[in-house]
């Protein structure tokens, strides 16, 4: 039986990380739908979801054959690579060294691209690619957050929650989700994935954590403080560089 302290970080990490990816995919699907109609946009999106479902069904059972420590170590390293990469970009954006990710700009870019390509097939492919690429990241996040410690169901529920929330919100407002503070989300995701990464890498090395799963909260807090400290150090330098 899973307790809340064990399941909550997995649900939260999968939810927030998946929200970022679903928002990106939805923005592109919406751009396609605005230009070419919902039919090619949804056909491409549904086809991509089908491919993703087949991939998960094919790869999921194989995870049971891998030794737990080995799986935790590999996933921990991958999570650290993924998480530190996100955190790095989020810190650089928050400090002003990198332009903020702009969903409005993505929407306009996709619209301009598709405006030149008049065929519905191309519009459908654009939608297919966006959902497949962003969906692959969601699949990885669910596997990474859930597979190491038998938390696949909480992680999958977190990702499903993100899908439902973004779709509901997106279909209600029917316009790009530029109001979602994307860099703030990415900052949080980078912190959580980095914390999970350190936790599982050490578990994979056979080093047990003091406080077991509760150590995750301490790790996330430490990464948050360190990342905010880096932003505080870099902000004046960015301001001086642009002055």
């Amino acid at each position: 039986m899973l307790d809340l302290a064990t399941a909550a970080p997995a649900v939260g990490a999968a939810f927030v990380a998946s929200t970022v990816e679903v928002v990106e995919a939805f923005t592109i699907v919406l751009a396609v739908a605005t230009l070419r109609g919902w039919r090619p946009a949804l056909t491409g999106a549904v086809a991509a979801l089908g491919v993703l479902a087949i991939m998960v069904a094919a790869l999921g059972p194989l995870l049971n054959l891998v030794p737990l420590h080995g799986l935790q170590l590999v996933i921990g390293i991958l999570l650290l690579l993924f998480g530190l990469g996100w955190l790095r970009k989020a810190v650089l954006r928050a400090s002003g060294f990198m332009a903020l990710h702009d969903e409005d700009a993505i929407f306009d870019r996709e619209r301009a691209k598709i405006g030149d390509e008049v065929a519905d097939v191309i519009a459908m492919l654009a939608s297919f690619k966006a959902v497949l690429l962003e969906g692959l990241e969601v699949v990885f996040i669910v596997l990474a957050v859930g597979a190491g410690r038998g938390l696949m169901i909480p992680a999958a529920l977190g990702a499903l929650g993100a899908f439902v929330v973004v779709m509901t919100f997106g279909l209600m407002v029917r316009k790009p989700l530029a109001r979602v503070p994307e860099n703030t989300l990415k900052f949080g995701v980078g912190v959580m994935l980095s914390a999970f990464g350190v936790f599982w890498t050490c578990e994979g090395l056979g080093a047990p954590w003091p406080g077991d799963d509760l150590a995750l909260f301490g790790l996330a807090g430490a990464f948050l403080v360190i990342a905010l400290g880096l932003v505080a150090i870099l902000k004046p330098r960015a301001a001086a560089a642009t002055a």
Partner: protein, 70 residues
């Protein structure tokens, strides 16, 4: 075909987008493994991996800032 290539490119960039960060992190994990398996000090392994990850993040951020400036 281009869809397959884009998927592969996306997967590659997810993990090896920053080669320096990847190599430094693998070196940190190797040090952690040495602490855990060679000298059998699990707490030292935890300290090495955590502090190493923080160091890799700081290095990568300052490197990114330098590149953006220059």
């Amino acid at each position: 075909m281009s869809v397959v290539l884009e998927v592969l490119e996306e997967l590659w960039s997810m993990f090896v987008g920053d080669r320096r960060l990847t190599l430094l992190l693998l070196a940190v994990v190797a040090l952690g493994a040495a602490a855990a398996y060679l000298i059998r000090q699990p707490m030292l392994a935890i300290a090495v991996v955590f502090l190493g990850a923080v160091g890799v993040l700081a290095d990568s951020v300052f490197q990114g800032a330098r590149k953006a400036k220059g």
